[in-house]
Amino acid sequence: MLVLEDVSKTYDGKRMAVNRLNLTVNAGEIFGFLGPNGAGKTTTIKLITGLLAPTQGRIMINGVDLATAPVEAKRNFTYVPDHPEIFTAIRGIDYLNFLADMYDVPASVRRSRIEKYTRIFALDGALGEVIQSYSHGMKQKLVICGALLPQAPLFILDEPLVGLDPLAARHLKEIMKEHCAAGGTVFFSSHLLAVVDQICDRVAVINQGELIICDRVERIKSDYAQSLEDIFLELTKDA
């Protein structure tokens, strides 16, 4: 579903924020992307979403090269950034309709999907209000609803659980699982190891832009015979 081949990125021409990263995320899995602060998670996700251009390497999404066929590739994923900074002078419903149009969500299912997701995240009451008046968490939920709306095959989230209330976090986890059960793929970065342990099929850990490990969660745990937290701390101790 998502393939990164030898992807590198440097901001200043000297230090590599992402260094020769090779990753394959298979269809139908929930993939956790871990690493300490400044490891390069957000940078990697921005590369995958086309917000940044890689210094080197190739990114394939659902078999489509992001560099040569960006529109085709972008149809295959939706993205929730770490900070929900969106244009806020419109109403919540306008935002969702905008995204539905951009991803060609058919008119027949649009209404039911919007109602379903906004109800799950308890936003249905606020849709008629301008986004400016939303709290940080509400904005985050709105962006998540918008990203769920197209039901694109790949769902990319950057630290999605930060700022969500426990109930919303629970719902989001369920939705991720549902999405995968229906054949979709989820790629998300997180610092919450308990959550990763709980829902991910596979995880990758990066540190200082380099991939340290990428494997099934159970495999890692059985190899090291430790909790995920201990393993994480040991792996990222300092390369």
Binding site: G50, P70, F87
Partner: protein, 523 residues
């Protein structure tokens, strides 16, 4: 005290970084030299004005009255400068987020900002009031004393207007909880500032002299510090003492105001009113239309952007209207309609003004700010993303050009056969400028603004866009030279066609070369 000094330094740094990014210099090293250069450049007309005022009042044998006049001009100027600054410092502070929770006395936080504004105002006084006061002092026979008194005047002068502006900002800020509305106010004051500078210059005519001297004397009676300032320049210790005492009073008032402002900025806007449930429209729309709507909304729903756009659109009309009223423009000959060519030129000039002045494309990317990523991850081509931005500019500008045309046709007897050449020219000019301005913004995107006024107002992009416009005059001139048999109608058609070719070229470049550059922006 050490903590306080550190705070003042921090606020100063923030101020200058805002100033630089506002001018579009970014954080580059060379920005420093440019900044100093800009400041010096800005100072020249003020020093010039100050010396001019001295000579003017000297000519009437009342040099000290020049100091009074300048003190009053400075009062307005300082107030109108201070109000937006105070808004910016207290309500758009980047540092406030992390300073507020620190274990520092609230008074320190509140006053540090005031001190920076005060320093800035003292600086303005130095170029505005110092020259006239110093020259007056020399004239009165002091030398070292003149320097000393004039400098003291610059130090004493900012406090009363600063105190009053603080009160005004406090009043305005309690009336609106909306941050955007607040920056709208500051925007208004920036325009008022321009008005004062222009007005103070325009008043200094020979014909006005008697009235101006009389009025300055009368107003000095109302604003006592102006009279004191005049006497201080002449070397009066008593008036220096009076002004000093007033400053002490103001200092206490201003401490209280600063504290109140600081608290007001921390208070969150009030609770939202509960609205009844509404039914929504779920109809699909075309992508192009949705994107266009988004960009239009960015202009319309931001009070500051809207205000700025409307002001730049109506400004030429306003100037013309005033010109008509004052009799500077020969309106009768135009109304008779026997000079169709002049009438045509007049109309084309007016209808082109929106494209020439409201260079919306130059900030088409900047305006989006931190929400810029949104359209970048969507499955739409980069070219459509760029095309929509240009279309937004064209739509707004042409709509206004058409409005101008309709109003013009109602008022003036323009021949209908002039319509086609004129409209062709205006349309092509609008499309061309919408494309070239976007090139500027692609090269100079600035997405991390917090104060919307900084995004659109004193952005270097806007100045750059204005700077190359005079070059366009080459096109009609070239048409006239190459095809000497053409009349005005022919020249307009010819220029319009030439512009359309240029537009195609620029759009081609945008689509191929610059689209890739656009894809590198931000992230």
């Amino acid at each position: 005290m050490r903590k306080f000094r550190a705070l003042v330094r921090l606020e100063l740094l923030e101020f200058f970084s805002k100033y630089r990014t506002g001018l579009g210099y970014g954080a580059a090293k060379r920005g420093k030299g440019l900044l100093v250069f800009t400041l010096l450049l800005l100072a020249v007309p003020f020093v010039n004005m100050s010396v001019g005022v001295y000579q003017y009042f000297l000519g009437w044998g009342r040099p000290a009255l020049g100091v009074a006049y300048m003190t009053m001009v400075a009062f307005l100027l300082l107030s109108f400068t201070a109000i937006p600054l105070l808004f910016s410092f207290y309500f758009h502070s980047r540092a406030a987020q992390f300073l507020a929770p620190l274990p520092l006395p609230a008074d320190y936080l509140a006053l540090a900002k005031m001190v920076v504004v005060w320093l800035y105002l003292a600086g303005i006084n130095f170029v505005l009031l110092f020259p006239v006061a110093f020259l007056t002092g020399i004239k009165a026979g002091h030398t070292v004393g003149a320097l000393f008194y004039s400098l003291l005047l610059c130090v004493l002068n900012p406090l009363p207007p600063l105190f009053l502006s603080g009160l005004a900002v406090l009043g305005l800020s309690t009336r609106t909880a909306n941050r955007n509305r607040k920056s709208l106010f500051s925007y208004f004051f920036a325009f008022a500032l321009l008005g004062v500078v222009l007005g103070a210059q325009l008043l200094l005519t020979e014909a006005n002299a008697m009235r101006l001297v009389a009025w300055t004397e009368r107003l000095t009676g109302f604003y006592l510090p102006a009279g004191w300032a005049a006497q201080i320049a002449n070397g009066s210790l008593l008036d220096l003492f009076k002004y000093g005492a007033l400053n002490v009073l103001c200092w206490y008032g201003f401490k209280a105001v600063a504290r109140k402002l600081h608290c007001a900025a921390l208070v969150l806007p009030g609770a939202r009113p509960v609205r009844p449930p509404v039914t929504f429209d779920f109809r699909p729309r075309k992508k192009y239309w949705q994107l266009l709507r988004r960009h239009l909304f960015i202009i319309v729903r931001h009070p500051v952007f809207l205000m700025h756009t409307i002001l730049t659109l109506i400004l030429p009309g306003l100037v013309l209207f005033i010109g008509f009223l004052s009799g500077d423009f020969p309106v009768e000959s135009l109304l008779r309609g026997d000079e169709q060519e002049r009438l045509l030129l007049f109309w084309v000039g007016l209808a082109s003004a929106p494209a020439l002045l409201a260079n919306l494309s130059a900030t088409a990317i900047t305006r989006e700010g931190k929400a810029f990523w949104e359209t970048r991850v969507l499955p739409v081509t980069t070219w459509m993303n760029l095309r929509v931005r240009m279309a937004t500019t064209i739509l707004v500008n042409l709509a206004f050009s058409l409005l101008v045309t309709v109003v013009f046709l109602l008022g003036f007897p323009l021949e209908y056969r002039a319509l086609f050449p004129g409209l062709l020219f205006v349309t092509m000019l609008t499309m061309f400028l919408a494309a070239t301005d976007l090139v500027i913004n692609i090269y100079r995107p600035y997405l991390h603004w917090t104060n919307p006024a900084a995004a659109i107002k004193n952005n270097l992009n806007v100045l750059l866009a204005l700077a190359y416009r005079p070059l366009l005059a080459v096109i009609p001139v070239l048409a006239a030279v190459c095809f000497p048999w053409l009349n005005l109608y022919g020249i307009l058609v010819c220029s319009g066609l030439f512009l359309s070719v240029l537009t195609l070229v620029v759009r081609r470049v945008l689509r191929t070369v610059l689209a890739a550059k656009f894809d590198q922006i931000g992230g």
